[in-house]
């Protein structure tokens, strides 16, 4: 047995040295389209970023860094100037210029049948003009500080492709011409995508001559494929396998706190007859205790976040006290996770007029976030212990989000990934007053509303100065969480990648898996 392991280890080292040219990656979710502007979905975007590039991009901590743009600045509150990189070339050899960007921006909102459009990132740009080959100017209607963050999702195409190519042309590979470190080679729907290195890349030389992405959605099978040596790297390592893999000499694990928070949302909109609030005997309760911030604070105090992070998440979560981990932009230094204090919770409930508590049902998806249903079960047990008998109803996310948006729940568990990497994203979607015309509160499924908080959020969203905006966002976080308890943060998910020994990867907060960031050696 020991001899065989030795042999296997020897074989592994040899194949790594000889086959260093190829990298095989096991992905957890299937890529649905190669058109970089068709379906705004993490696996699609992740693949697109190998072939295409964006003007600005995020580093592994989601801080903005230059991409195809070398620098940018505001000329006045509504005009932005971008200086583009010289010497970047398309895979067909043509030079990259500002005209390509202008044409790309025109295509983005017009892709037919798009189920999730990228127009949400280009909408603020009312006018784009190329001053010369390497200078661009954007005009917005209102001051819009998030413009450089938004365009990290806008993949730039060559002008003639942006003007003519259809979604089918990308899927067939014909239109897959970008400036990125890898070129498209093969796509078998639902199975694999193969890329080859772009030797004329303007940046650091790609480390792999071939990259093969295999779609392996079953997590146990993904781990087995890594152990069998069929893939060199996998994403979304299941929490249950982490202790075992951490001890395995064949495997390296890397992880990072992600931009996704798991939180509890309350029905704070309805004054009466919230659908799943009952008295202790289970009869519907006329008043809605969840409108009282003291009750929400009591619920927050009743939850032992450390226990959830260590037992249920196997250490793959960090207890949360605000909307994003402190290292992100616009967070507050004054919001530690709420301490576990069941006595304090009971006292607050008594103060709010519910000394005997009341009954609740917690609704949760069961296939969307890491261990979502188990977390909900734990939360329900903590609340039951604190005097709020809580039932859990779990359902697939396809059902959960439809019902949640129809306001059918009183108390729900959900998650939010801050795509922009800063606090305005969760603030405006989860906590701002629901307002279709302004595009605010889009995922505010509890209809939380506070005029003071709304004012802070809209000031932040029009403040160009980064330092000032950061302070306003931090103040808004403090108001939303510590003062108003608009939602109760549970934890931030930690994402983990598994690799064959000898490879290294800078784990990313945005959960993207980038082959061009995978290196051999330390």
């Amino acid at each position: 047995m020991r001899f065989r392991i030795l042999l296997a280890a020897a074989a592994a080292t040899v194949s790594l040295a000889a086959g260093a040219a190829e990298l095989v990656v096991g992905l957890s979710t299937p890529i649905t389209s190669l058109d970089p502007h068709f379906h705004n979905l993490t696996p699609n975007n992740s693949l697109a970023k190998h072939v295409f590039e964006t003007l600005t991009r995020n580093d592994e901590q989601q801080r903005l860094v230059p991409g195809l743009a070398e620098s940018w600045r505001t000329l006045d509150a509504t005009t932005w100037e971008f200086k583009l990189r010289k010497g970047a070339r398309w895979h067909d050899g043509a030079e990259f210029t500002a005209e390509d960007v202008v044409a790309t921006l025109k295509r983005v909102p017009l892709v037919p049948n798009s189920p999730a459009s990228f127009a949400i990132y280009t909408r603020a740009i009312k006018e784009a003009s190329a001053l010369d080959k390497h200078t661009l100017r954007f005009r917005t209607d209102k001051p819009y500080p998030l413009l450089p963050n938004d365009i990290t999702s806008v993949h730039i195409l060559p002008k003639k492709i942006a003007e003519n190519a259809k979604t089918e042309d990308f899927n067939s590979g014909k239109a897959m011409i970008g400036t990125g470190p890898y070129r498209f080679s093969e796509h078998v729907s639902g199975d694999r995508v193969v890329l080859v290195s772009n030797d004329k890349y303007w940046g650091p030389k790609p480390a792999w001559s071939t990259v093969r992405f295999k779609m392996i959605s079953n997590s146990a099978a993904r781990v087995a494929a890594l152990l069998a040596g069929d893939v060199h790297m996998i994403e979304s390592v299941p929490t249950a396998d982490i202790p075992k893999l951490a001890k395995d000499a064949r495997v390296t694990l890397v992880s990072a706190v992600s931009n996704r928070i798991i939180y509890l949302h309350f029905d704070s909109g309805r004054e009466k007859n919230s659908p799943f609030v009952t008295d202790k005997a289970g009869k519907p309760l006329e008043t809605n205790p969840l409108r009282d911030p003291r009750v929400r604070k009591a619920i927050s105090k009743a939850i032992d976040r450390e226990a959830i992070a260590s037992r249920i998440m196997e250490g793959q979560a960090q207890p949360a006290g605000q909307l994003l981990p402190e290292t992100f932009f616009g967070t507050s230094k004054r919001l530690p996770p709420e301490k576990y204090d069941p006595e304090g919770a009971r006292k607050l409930l008594a103060q709010a007029g519910y000394p005997d508590g009341f009954g609740l049902t917690l609704h949760t998806p069961n296939n969307r976030y890491i261990n979502d249903e188990k977390i909900a079960q734990a939360v329900a047990q903590f609340l039951t212990r604190a005097g709020i008998p809580t039932k859990v109803e779990a359902m697939p996310s396809a059902v959960f989000f439809s019902r949640g948006s129809k306001l059918e729940f009183s108390f729900l568990l959900a998650g939010w990934g801050a795509e922009t990497g800063e606090t305005s994203s969760p603030l405006r979607s989860l906590l701002a007053t629901f307002d279709t015309a302004q595009g605010m509160g889009g995922a505010n499924r509890g209809r939380f509303s506070d005029a003071g908080l709304d004012a802070l959020i809209s000031t932040a969203l029009t403040t160009i100065d980064d330092t000032k905006r950061g302070l306003i966002l931090a103040a808004a976080s403090e108001k939303a969480i510590a003062e108003l308890q608009g939602l109760v943060p549970v934890h931030y998910e930690i994402s983990t990648w598994g690799m064959k020994k000898g490879l290294s990867y800078k784990a990313r907060a945005d959960q993207y898996t980038f082959a061009f960031e995978v290196r051999t050696g330390r």
């Binding site: 299937p30 649905t32 959605s217 439809s402 979607s429």
Partner: protein, 325 residues
Amino acid sequence: MTVYVLRRLAQTLLVLFVTSALVFGGLFLVGDPVEILVNPNADQAEKLRAAAALGLDRSVLEQYWIFLRGAFTGDLGRSFVFGRPALDVILERMPATLEIAFLAMLISVCLGIPLGLYAGLRPADPLSKTIMAGSILGFSLPTFWVGLLLIILFAVELGWLPSTGRGPTVEFLGLQLSILHWEGLRYALLPATNLALFKLSLIVRLTRAQVREQSLLDYIKFARAKGLPRSRVIGVHLMKNIMIPLVTVIGLELGSVIAFAIVTETIFAWPGMGKLVIDSIFQLDRPVVVTYLLVTVFMFIFINLVVDILYSVLDPRVRLSEAKG
């Protein structure tokens, strides 16, 4: 016979219509695809745009009517997720499913009938007892568990076969097939075995039971008394009579192995229709789910028709024109 076939085809149309209505209505009740498809960061305006782009802003009856009108011209709608005609998306994945399904049926028939015969002819033999005990394990162990076990044993521990995915394909009669050469077949062996296990056990048990029952009947005794060689008694007289129930079961099982290879395909990351339909259900990609079920229903009806025709070949007493329904 022609009348019989035509009548069956007319019934098919009715069944397809009812299926489409049920699935359409069912998925409508499950949830709103827009909630799942749009990026979570999208605001209300983007949700409205997506609903309009996918035709989901109309009433459900209107949507169904548009679907029916399209269906009569052969257009079953466009996948929300892939943005391509749903039928194309499914047909593209079909060869992958068909090849492991046929491989699995081949394994189960080629192993199952001989093993069942042996166990039926020599019921007291220790080997027969082992076969029968094995068959109980075969259909009581859950597929996903056996699948993972196969991966751990043959791919992780022994390293003989690849753990997941489909091998390189070659074009054959316009289909992309991987099992026609060794490199591709290596990938197909584990999923096909996993898929075959249940069917194999079923065929073993069914064959054995038939053999035991038929061996005691008068025609077998008579054939023996006539002094026919044993091989002819078993190979011709016995085989012909045990084949009728077997053909029915094999036919139905072939249908189910194609339609419900979902678990195996998911575990082995086999890019077939089953994996596609699971992903589509989770994303509420209604055109793909509806089309998939229509294709499946059609396939079942077709297989049953073939089985009925085979009956009349195996047993001259069966007349197709007399059969009702």
